[in-house]
């Protein structure tokens, strides 16, 4: 046990003391939001700046001033379609919209065809949809007029329904639930586990491989049991990841509390001074928004989610970490590792792809099945938990995951103890199986 700790300490300290660790840990919580913000900023700015021209050849005469699509100017032209088709591109226009003559006399006709759009490059899906919507609305209005109905009356007849969702807790208390937030939390946590397995699993493998290629491993195993070395390594690298995660949570938590604090006005004197100059309406709107966000967060069982996350996070890490260690021990170089990485990566990829379906239907058959299988359960269960999972399912999944990682650590340990002493062996699955069954 003491020796596992010594190995763990070395793995931990050599990593944490690196400058790259410090940099990644401190900058990631700042860089990622900055990148997201920058992308969003440039995406919106692009649309506003360069206005492309779309020419409209309207033979029906109904669509003047109808189009308002951001990023585009609409100019109406006359002449023949062939003529306009030939010259719009040369004259610098992005596209040509052709509207045929329309016969609106029979209001029972609802399908209109013959609209055409010409361009040299494909317009975005959203642009096309905006144009279609605009034309539909215009035709609806025209048909309403023809049918003699008052547009105001029609507008009054429309209805909008918002569904408030509640979760009944075991005590029978109804709690306001929030599917959007659950989705975001489930997605975020599942993705975090996915990232963590890849990044730190790879580091474990690299570390095992380094010991093998630097030929220190036989010196080490003359004083430490191979299993102790492997576990020390898995725990040490895991502790590094955990440290990083903790710092991120504190940093992001701190930053977002600060953000919320600014939003809700707070007690800050500066803020108060600023808020006095702010229009009353805007103030209350912002306060309401902040209160909403805080209310949403309060509606989620934070402690339960965090504890579950901790468990599945660690479970996934041990399970995959041991497998990565086994692969690292079996091969002589990173290139050789590829063929063995494949079956390890498959269940991770399956998890992350299935996660999107699971988030849509968190209690469906796929979700329940995958959240029981230890190889996929960490990601899938974390995606489900924010939506509420029956306790027996959670318990069963946890027990299976424990069994799963104990099993993989056992298998990995048996391959590892042989693999680390083998140099220049051409390893395939058969060889690995032999190592597994071999007596030491």
């Amino acid at each position: 046990m003491n020796k596992i700790f010594l190995v763990l300490k070395r793995e931990y300290l050599t990593r944490v003391k690196k400058k790259s660790f410090l940099l990644a840990t401190l900058l990631t919580p700042l860089v990622i939001p900055t990148i997201i913000f920058a992308i969003a900023y440039f995406a919106t700015r692009d649309k506003d700046s360069g206005h492309d021209e779309i020419r409209v050849l309207d033979q029906s005469g109904y669509f003047e001033n109808v189009f308002d699509v951001s990023g585009y100017d609409f100019t109406f032209v006359t002449g023949s379609l062939d003529d306009q088709k030939a010259k719009f591109d040369d004259e610098g226009a992005f596209g040509l919209l052709y509207i045929p003559e329309l016969d609106l006399s029979d209001i029972s006709v609802s399908r209109f065809e013959g609209f055409e759009f010409y361009s040299t490059t494909n317009p975005s899906f959203r642009t096309l949809e905006s144009i279609e919507r605009a034309m539909e609305r215009r035709i609806e209005d025209l048909k309403l007029q023809r049918s003699g109905l008052d547009a105001d009356v029609v507008a009054n007849l429309q209805a909008r329904v918002g569904l408030d969702t509640f979760n009944i807790t075991e005590t029978g208390e109804a709690k306001e639930s929030n599917s959007g937030l659950s989705y975001a939390i489930g997605y975020g946590m599942g993705f975090l586990i996915y990232m963590f397995i890849f990044v730190y699993g790879g580091q474990i493998m690299q570390s095992v491989l380094d010991e093998k290629t630097s030929r220190i491993v036989e010196v080490i195993v003359s004083s430490v049991r191979p299993f102790q070395l492997m576990m020390g390594k898995v725990l040490g690298v895991g502790a590094v990841g955990f440290t990083q995660l903790l710092i991120w949570i504190v940093l992001i938590g701190g930053l977002s509390t600060l953000g919320l604090g600014i939003l809700s006005g707070g007690n800050d004197v500066m803020m108060e001074a600023a808020s006095q100059q702010m229009p009353q309406e805007a103030m209350s709107q912002q306060q309401e928004m902040a209160a909403n966000i805080q209310g949403m967060i309060a509606s989620v069982p934070v402690v339960k989610i965090l504890l579950c996350f901790l468990f599945f996070f660690l479970g996934a890490y041990f399970l995959y970490g041991a497998l990565y260690a086994a692969v690292g021990s079996a091969v002589d170089s990173l290139q050789d590792a590829q063929q063995f990485m494949f079956p390890i990566i498959i269940p991770i990829i399956v998890s992350i792809m299935a996660m999107f379906f699971v988030l849509e239907d968190p209690n469906g058959g796929l979700a329940v099945t995958l959240s029981m299988i230890p190889l996929t359960s960490p990601i899938i269960m974390m995606a489900r938990i924010p939506f509420g999972v029956p306790d027996w399912q959670l318990a069963l999944s946890m027990v299976l995951l424990i069994a799963g990682f104990v099993g993989t650590i056992y298998i990995a340990g048996r391959i590892y103890r042989i693999g680390i002493l083998m140099y220049g062996v051409k390893v395939n699955w058969k060889v690995m199986k032999k190592w597994f069954t071999m007596k030491v």
């Binding site: 020796k3 010594l6 050599t14 380094d210 030929r215 220190i216 010196v219 003359s222 007596k439």
Partner: protein, 301 residues
């Protein structure tokens, strides 16, 4: 008293037997040569003693006790495939390896300082291993092997890759450790390189021990009653002398290898020779361990 005894140790792998019923005993404070060609099973035996792998049959005793994890601190092992963490500082690395052997932090610090000074590496304690020359790295590896003052030092192909200066330096350190009470096992396939160092040897070939004992006893018992004579005059065979070959020495004298047909003592032979020729040199030919090994292996086939 034997520090190490291996009794009927057998180790089998799927396709082959790595060690077949091997027994050796290594007396305390001896320098023991574990000799044999590549693939004979030397490293397997050493790994068993180091508890890296386990014997299928037989037992290993250290100081009369069955092999146990507590013996890890008794043994210092320099494997054939050896290296260091490249990115780690020399001092930290030695500290880590010493602690793994069970040394306390303060004791390890003292000894690391002592050894680095002794081998002239004090200035390098704070440097990373990748910045060291190969010779320096080898010295560090040696220090790591002896830091915990092992009673039993096991060196697998210790001088492969060492330059002659470092090899001699390490040899001197090894002798010094032996004087202080350590027992040393050299394992190597280059028999001539350790022959003069060892006082006990065991020969291993094809998973089996074919010979062991005190080196001098072995060499004496494999004497062939052959002598090299350098002389003036002409020598003919006689009832007691057989001439194996004849040549001219560097100084223009005759040189011959003779054999005492009936095992006559050197004095008897000399008396006969003096009557016939002018003897300039008369040396008994004692076979080297390498010669003995080759004759044993060939004889066995």
């Amino acid at each position: 008293m034997n520090i190490l005894e291996a009794n009927n140790v057998t180790k089998r792998y799927a396709e082959h037997t790595a060690l077949n019923d091997v027994s050796i005993s290594i007396p305390k404070q001896s320098i023991f040569g574990l000799l044999g060609p590549n693939g004979a099973g030397k490293t397997t035996l050493i790994r068993i003693v180091n508890q890296i792998i386990m014997a299928d049959e037989g037992e290993v005793l250290i100081n009369g006790e069955k092999l146990d994890p507590k013996h890890i601190g008794v043994i210092g092992y320099l494997p054939e495939e050896r290296g260091l963490y490249k990115k780690m500082k020399v001092g930290e690395q030695l500290m880590y390896l010493a602690q793994l052997k069970g040394l306390s932090n303060s004791e390890a610090r003292k000894r690391i300082k002592f050894w680095l000074e002794k081998l002239g590496l004090s200035d390098w304690a704070g440097k990373k291993v990748e910045d060291l020359s190969k010779g320096m790295a080898q010295k560090i590896q040696f220090i790591a092997t002896v830091l915990h003052e092992p009673e039993l030092l096991i060196l697998d192909e210790p001088f492969s890759g060492f330059d002659p200066v470092n090899a001699n330096l390490i040899k001197d350190e090894i002798f010094e450790l032996r004087e202080k009470g350590a027992t040393v096992i050299f394992s190597t396939h280059r028999m001539e390189s350790v022959e003069q160092l060892c006082d006990h040897i065991a020969l291993i070939n094809k998973s089996q021990k074919i010979l062991d004992g005190k080196k001098n006893d072995i060499r004496n018992s494999y004497k062939l009653n052959q002598y090299e004579v350098i002389f003036k005059g002409s020598l003919a065979e006689s009832p007691s002398i057989k001439i194996l070959n004849n040549s001219i020495s560097e100084l223009g004298l005759n040189k011959a290898t003779i054999e005492a047909k009936n095992g006559e003592s050197p004095n008897i032979l000399l008396q006969e020779l003096i009557g016939k020729i002018e003897v300039h040199s008369f040396i008994e030919i004692i076979p080297s361990i390498n010669d003995i090994f080759i004759s044993l292996v060939k004889g066995g086939q």
